[in-house]
């Protein structure tokens, strides 16, 4: 900026500012002037409070709505995509292990998995903005799921004709699932988790709420000081319209406080009793499916214990930790019971798996396969995932309930807040106009 501009601009600004300040300053010297100032302050504070109340309620309502109807469902869908793909991979490997024509129940399970994954992909796509890492992951997943299904279909067609190339198609499909599909589903899950965290921030709208609290305190303070001033300068102790305005402001403050405090309480319940356990249990289900997949693929590779068995051990340790955490935050109730049952069944499954490894290492490959995909082990494992599922469903319901409660009252507040503020304005105007009239 040049000095010339400064020279030209400075006097003008000083002039206007000086003018306004002077006029306001002069108002303070006369009684009607002071009344006019008080009126202006009360009216503008009340209008501002009304506006901010409306905005706060609207922001909190849309944040809560977004969290409940978009971010959290997206997280659940991401988990569904991941676990359905992992289960499809495991099921395909087990069908292969069975030898001969793949057993019908396994084929049905594989098809149900794929259907679940594609349905979740479609609705996850609806919940993600068109650009960004989540959208990229969904696009790649959609393309790869089609490729994956094609490879498995080729594997089946070849298997039906008794051609060993079917096994190679299956291992290509499995490699695609493990190296591309599942990591992308994990990336989506990660992004969804971030969105849920952001969603809680948006739902709380803390900056708006803080501003609103300051404005409410300022409005109340201004009303009280105006009444003090009036009772000192006039003979009337109470200015009834202003008393009414104060009462309405208190009602507004109580309504705002009540709704926002209740909303926060429900949000934090939704987080600790809903989102967190859901995230933990979702991760637990993925870990359980990973164990089963490692087991089946180790047997299918027929190479003895390798990297996959090591992964099994690591996953077991992780799953134990996850279930322990889940048990800690859900000590009682239906979900807690389901988690405890899952812990027992996981132990039973791991000991069955150890037996499978012992048989395979002891050269009884057929025995190992029979035990691994046999009814007993399958039942134990399905029991484990069913327990995790029912705890997960229970926590999802808790989340929906809490989010529903958190959103309650925010809508009415959006209308009621500005309305009450307008009433405060009107009352302030009425209260002070009577006094101003006296100076005419």
């Amino acid at each position: 900026m040049s000095t010339a501009q400064l020279d030209r601009a400075a006097p003008v600004a000083a002039d206007t500012r000086g003018g306004v300040l002077d006029r306001v300053g002069r108002l303070r010297n006369t009684s009607p002037g002071r009344l006019q100032l008080i009126l202006a302050a009360l009216v503008s504070l009340a209008l501002l409070t009304g506006l901010v109340t409306g905005l706060t309620a609207a922001a909190a309502a849309s944040g809560t709505d977004d969290l409940g109807n978009r971010a959290q469902p997206l997280l659940v869908e991401a988990e569904t995509i991941y676990s359905a793909l992992a289960d499809a991979d495991t099921t395909a490997a087990q069908a292969f292990l069975a030898g001969g024509l793949e057993p019908a129940p396994l084929t049905r399970r594989y098809e149900a998995d794929l259907e679940r994954a594609t349905a979740a992909l479609t609705s996850a796509a609806r919940r993600t903005p068109e650009q960004g890492p989540s959208a990229d992951a969904i696009r790649r997943l959609s393309a790869d799921v089609t490729r994956y299904a094609g490879l498995v279909a080729s594997a089946r067609a070849n298997n039906r004709q008794g051609l060993p190339i079917g096994a190679a198609y299956l291992s290509s499909a499995s490699a695609l699932s493990r190296e591309s599909l599942q990591p992308q589903a994990q990336a989506l899950l990660q992004a969804a988790r971030g969105e849920v965290d952001d969603g809680y921030g948006a739902a709380r709208s803390s900056w708006w709420a803080a501003l609103l609290v300051i404005l409410l305190i300022a409005l109340l303070g201004a009303l009280l000081r105006a009444q003090l001033y009036l009772s000192r300068t006039t003979r009337r102790t109470f200015n009834l319209p202003l008393v009414a305005a104060t009462a309405v402001t208190v009602v507004l403050a109580l309504a705002v406080g009540g709704v926002l405090i209740a909303q926060r309480a429900h949000l934090s319940e939704a987080d600790t009793e809903g989102s967190r356990p859901v995230a933990l249990l979702a991760e637990a289900r993925i870990a359980a499916l990973r164990e089963r997949g490692d087991e089946a693929l180790t047997l299918a590779a027929r190479s003895g214990e390798g990297a996959l068995e090591k992964d099994f051990d690591e996953t077991t340790a992780r799953l134990d930790g996850l279930l322990a955490d889940a048990g800690e935050i859900m000590p009682a109730g239906y979900a807690g019971q389901a988690v405890r049952s899952a812990v027992t069944k996981h132990r039973a499954y791991v000991s069955a798996h150890d037996q499978v490894r012992k048989l395979d290492n002891g050269a009884d490959y057929d025995g190992a396969v029979a035990l691994a995909i046999g009814a007993q082990t399958s039942q134990t494992f399905t029991g484990l995932t069913d327990d995790i599922d029912s705890a997960l469903e229970n926590r999802k319901d808790v989340f929906s309930d809490e989010i529903g409660d958190a959103g309650r009252g925010l809508g009415p507040l959006t209308v009621l807040g500005p309305l009450l503020a307008l009433i405060v304005c009107g009352l302030a105007l009425a209260g002070l106009r009577a006094r101003l009239e006296e100076y005419r």
Binding site: A167, A168, S303, A363
Partner: protein, 317 residues
């Protein structure tokens, strides 16, 4: 200072080891320099300086099954109760998983079963361990299998790390192309993508061809056929025996060309158990003579013509 000297010594040992093991199957802990080094090298005649076809002479008559001489490696296997055979499960006719039964079977598996028969009197006392083509040498060296029968070429580079049995099958490398291809051999495939299993001699050989095809590796030859059917590669090149098995699974593929390499198959065994190599050679010698080899050939490869005479055994001592 002493630790540093030890480190240098260790590094030198590792380098020396890598140098002498000019094989595509890397040994545990050794750098894999050979695959990269061989790419683009001019076609060199196979190194026959060690006489790769020549194995160790059998020591006298075979002991009776179940009565292995004390202290021998065979006695160790007998005590364990099973022979651990390293092989693949996707090489149709040699060792592949029968989709109907889930069992791994083929010419190579039968070779292993005949050894189990000689040790235990029961060919079923065998544990099949599927190993990658690039693990055929290292699995023998680290003791995770007793013996490898997996369309494995006996060559000088591998002889440095393992012992081979006498040759039980003579193969040679050809190419598999699509039915409508005009290529008549590997020489017509310059600049085209040609697939082979990772760690196989076939893979190294592709890069040595003068017309310069582009070698592409996959974990196994079944995976190569998948790549071929998905149009990811133009051809597959490996031993004619394996290619016949692949072509049998795809009516739109054909095997063409003359054999451009010689691939004598031997079973690989640990270097430190010479008694075992001699024993296996005795089993092979007996089976060549009594017609077992011929019936095994006819069982798996009979569709491609009458059985040729079995490869003659050569010994180095």
């Amino acid at each position: 200072m002493r630790t540093r000297a030890a480190l240098v010594a260790a590094a030198v040992t590792v380098l020396a080891a890598a140098g002498c093991s000019g094989d595509s199957s890397p040994l545990p802990g050794r750098p894999t320099a050979s695959a990269g080094a061989s790419t683009g090298a001019p076609a060199a005649p196979a190194d026959d300086s060690c006489r790769p076809r020549a194995s160790l002479r059998p020591a006298g008559a075979l002991p009776a099954p179940g009565r292995m001489p004390a202290g021998s490696y065979m006695a160790e296997i007998q005590k364990r109760g099973r022979l651990v055979l390293g092989t693949s499960q996707d090489t149709l006719l040699f060792s592949s998983r029968n989709p109907f039964t889930g069992k791994v079977e083929g010419f190579d598996v039968d070779m292993g079963r005949q050894v189990a028969q000689a040790i235990f009197g029961d060919p079923d006392k065998i544990q099949i361990k599927v190993i990658g083509y690039d693990k055929r040498v290292s699995s023998v060296v680290d003791g995770s299998v007793d013996i490898v029968a997996d369309t494995m070429t006996a060559n000088c580079a591998r002889w440095k790390d393992v012992n081979f049995s006498s040759i039980y099958y003579d193969a040679g490398q050809k190419v598999l192309v699509s039915k409508d291809s005009k290529a008549t051999g590997i020489d017509d495939l310059g600049g085209r993508k040609v697939c082979a299993a990772k760690g196989s001699t076939s893979y190294d050989n592709i890069a040595k061809v003068a017309s310069r095809p582009i070698p592409v590796d996959r974990p196994g030859f079944g995976d190569c056929l998948v790549a071929f059917q998905q149009n990811e590669v133009d051809a597959i090149s490996t031993d004619d025996t394996i290619l016949v098995g692949l072509a049998a699974q795809d009516p739109y593929a054909k095997v063409v060309g003359p054999r451009f390499t010689d691939e004598p198959y031997g079973m690989a065994m640990p270097k430190e158990h010479e008694d075992f190599t001699r024993f296996v050679n005795a089993v092979l010698a007996r089976n060549r003579a009594n017609g077992t080899w011929k019936s095994t050939y006819e069982r798996w490869l009979g569709d491609f013509g009458a059985a040729p005479p079995p490869p003659a055994a050569e010994y180095r001592d």
